[in-house]
């Protein structure tokens, strides 16, 4: 164990989130993510259009137009949404950024991690991608999720972080059973 240092830091010395260089997700993942869009946009549209045609008597042409407009839009949006997801590892935490229009930045400090899940849905498994989910005590669901990590990378990152957590003598905290995440969902959000 290294000796503990706690030198005073002035505001300028605090590492700033604005100067972090983020890593994009794997380019291939953005495409895998598109397959997801088929499931989440196209399939729900089918019963909806049936209702529109049979139920409310909306002319077929309008429904087709709806498809022609919505589906490509959904694809484009979801591609860029996946592209906008970025992560970064620092010495003491992981940062994650997401959102095309509504942007979000969060971080999980290694010494606040309660547990880590490594999951892969059927699609991810096919392309050998994994998602890493990090849980802290501040909330009942996933606190930070990095999707689309190549299987090997995900394993390595997890081992590395677990190693870091175990190095810290103060991590002797009760595992909060009630904070266990739900079973891995078979798909991305």
């Amino acid at each position: 164990m290294t000796t503990f240092t706690n030198t005073q830091i002035t505001v300028d010395d605090i590492p700033a989130v604005s100067s972090v260089e983020f890593t994009d997700l794997h380019p291939k993942y953005c495409k895998v993510n598109l397959t997801d869009t088929i499931v989440w946009v196209t399939i729900p549209l089918i019963p909806l259009s049936l209702i529109l045609i049979k139920g409310i008597n909306i002319p077929l042409i309008w429904v087709i137009l709806l498809f022609v407009l919505l589906v490509p839009l959904a694809f484009v949006l979801s591609y860029y949404r996946a592209k906008a997801r970025r992560y970064a590892f620092r010495e003491h935490d992981i940062l994650f950024q997401q959102g095309l229009f509504w942007q979000k930045t969060t971080a999980v400090a290694f010494n606040r991690i309660q547990h880590i899940d490594l999951t892969h849905g059927p699609l991810e498994r096919k392309y050998q991608f994994s998602s890493l989910k990090f849980f802290t005590a501040g909330g009942s669901s996933v606190d930070l999720k990095i999707p689309g990590l190549p299987e090997d990378d995900a394993q390595r990152i997890r081992a590395l972080i677990l190693d870091k957590i175990n190095q810290n003598p103060n991590q002797d905290m009760p595992d909060q059973g009630s904070l266990q995440g739900k079973e891995a969902a078979p798909h991305d959000d």
Partner: protein, 515 residues
């Protein structure tokens, strides 16, 4: 397994102990409660059998006697099969009549340890030692029916063991910062807070729990006419309307009176509840442990280690505001999202005047700064709140009416204008500030709420920006503590980043345990 409580096992084993036989009364109540909650609806067929039979009286008596016997036998069995054993580091519990349960609770896993005394235990000087772990749903670790001195012994032993563990953790880590938090705490048995009955009445009035009840009753409001008709006959009602000025005005007055009396009734319930729970309130601080003792019928003793406080909130609604009182709420880590559980994790100090609150916070957070400079949030918060909560819904709902040329609906467009002062007040009250160690968030519009938390207790922070916020260089910061989340909306992005950076620098360098 030995069966007699007095038999000492071999020297290696510590003996298994039984609760006092009076504990079967506790189990009786518990079984009855569970029975009412779960089994009652399934008894409907039995009632039908009963009603269709010829000898109603006989069968009813038989059924009643049968149930009573069943309940008594089951509680006696539950008492008989409950055994516990106290080790140096853990407590072992064996229970269950048919489904055996063997539980080992490690002292360092215990989150809360309380001592309750139901009124039926009082003559026997017995208590319930309630042991809560982070994952427990309640009741699994209760030692119901042990002597009060013994319960206090066990509690002190567990707390002592916990602080030993904590001390060794702190020693291994950052002692410069931790001493500040642990030195100045007094250790006397003098209460650091008490509450008179007058205070409790004020607490009952200023406690928001009442409004939760009100929301609960909201579905009944449209039926208010039926309810009135239920209580009064048509003729009586007509007479009353007449007496109050006749026709429409009379009816309106009756409805207003009804609503007012419901309101008063709820206040009364709230006040009674407050007295029931907090009668003879005494808060003491020994070493690092806060103890709250109170209760009119059932005495409760609740203890809380100072290091487990995640945040301290001072809050008050408009009645409290008017009475010059506020309630101090010590927030603890809440397991999961269960609302009920969350509420149980609140440690309330009722009815403080401002100086008392400050003094108490001073005792709990000795190193906290007296003044924290606060900043307002951006004014656009008003517009956004009005837009999302009023303007858009009103426009959407009214659109079909306006299309059908019911223009009177447009009078609802005045609603956002009328609500403007309220939202503006909320905006004005929303302030935030931080020092090197603490964060402070203020909010509220007809009441007030002020949450103070040590930055190192934070679990996670999120900066989020909507497109509009982005254009104006604004952001919303969400801070997650183990006790729940807090938001600072519409703050300048530089401030959000400063908070974010400082929080993470703090939690990554400060080795004091958050739990």
């Amino acid at each position: 397994m030995t069966t007699d409580s007095n038999v000492t096992a071999t020297t290696e084993q510590i003996q298994w102990k039984r609760l006092s036989p009076v504990a079967s009364v506790y189990y009786l109540f518990k079984t009855v409660k569970a029975f009412i909650g779960q089994a009652l609806p399934s008894l409907a067929p039995l009632v039908i059998v009963l009603l269709n039979s010829d000898d109603k009286a006989l069968i009813a008596t038989l059924a009643a006697v049968g149930f009573a016997t069943l309940l008594v036998v089951s509680s006696l069995l539950q008492y008989w099969f409950f055994q516990y054993q106290l080790g140096d580091n853990e407590i072992k519990i064996n229970q269950g009549v048919f489904k055996k349960q063997h539980r080992v609770i490690n002292f360092d896993r215990i989150q809360n340890i309380n001592i309750n005394q139901p009124i039926y235990f009082r003559p026997f000087k017995l208590v319930i030692l309630v042991i809560e772990t982070a994952g427990s749903k309640g009741g699994e670790g209760d030692l119901a029916g042990i002597g009060q001195p013994m319960a206090e012994d066990i509690r002190d032993q567990i707390l002592q063991r916990q602080s030993q563990i904590k001390a060794s953790q702190i020693e291994a880590g950052n002692d410069a910062a931790s001493t500040a938090a642990s030195t100045d705490t007094e250790s006397t048995d003098e209460p650091i807070a008490t509450a008179s009955t007058g205070d409790l009445i004020r607490y009952g009035l200023s406690n928001n729990g009442m409004y939760i009840l009100l929301a609960f009753m909201a579905p009944f409001f449209p039926k208010i006419e039926e309810i009135i008709n239920y209580f009064f006959s048509k003729a009586e009602l007509a007479a009353m309307t007449e007496a109050l000025g006749g026709n429409l005005i009379g009816s309106i007055i009756i409805v207003v009176i009804m609503i007012a009396s419901v309101f008063l009734l709820m206040m009364l319930i709230s006040v009674l509840g407050s007295i029931l729970k907090f009668h003879n309130y005494r808060l003491t601080l020994t070493d690092e442990t806060l103890k709250r003792k109170s209760g009119l019928i059932n005495t409760q003793e609740e203890s809380l280690n100072l290091s487990k406080i995640q945040a301290i909130a001072r809050q008050s609604n408009f009645i409290g505001h008017w009475l010059g009182r506020e309630n101090l709420i010590l927030r603890q880590a809440g397991g999961g999202g269960n609302k009920q559980q969350r509420r149980n994790n609140l440690f309330v100090v009722p009815a403080r005047i401002a100086e008392q609150s400050e003094q108490l916070i001073e005792t709990l957070y000795p190193d906290h700064p007296e003044q924290i400079e606060t900043h307002p949030i951006n004014r656009r918060y008003i517009f956004k709140t009005l837009l999302i909560t009023l303007i858009l819904p009103v426009l959407l709902i009214s659109a079909p009416f306006v299309i059908q040329q019911h223009f009177w609906v447009m009078s609802f467009y005045l609603l956002p204008v009328l609500c403007y002062p309220l939202v503006a007040k909320r905006w004005r009250n929303y302030r935030y500030g931080k020092t090197d160690e603490y964060g402070l968030i203020r909010s509220g519009f007809i009441g007030h709420k002020q949450v103070l938390f040590p930055l190192f207790k934070v679990q996670r922070a999120v900066i989020s920006q909507s497109p509009v916020q982005k254009r104006r260089n604004l952001a919303t910061l969400t801070i997650y503590l183990a006790s729940g989340k807090m938001r600072i909306p519409y703050m300048p992005i530089e401030h959000a980043r400063q908070w974010f950076d400082q929080i993470y620098a703090k939690i990554e360098t400060d080795s004091r345990p958050w739990f």
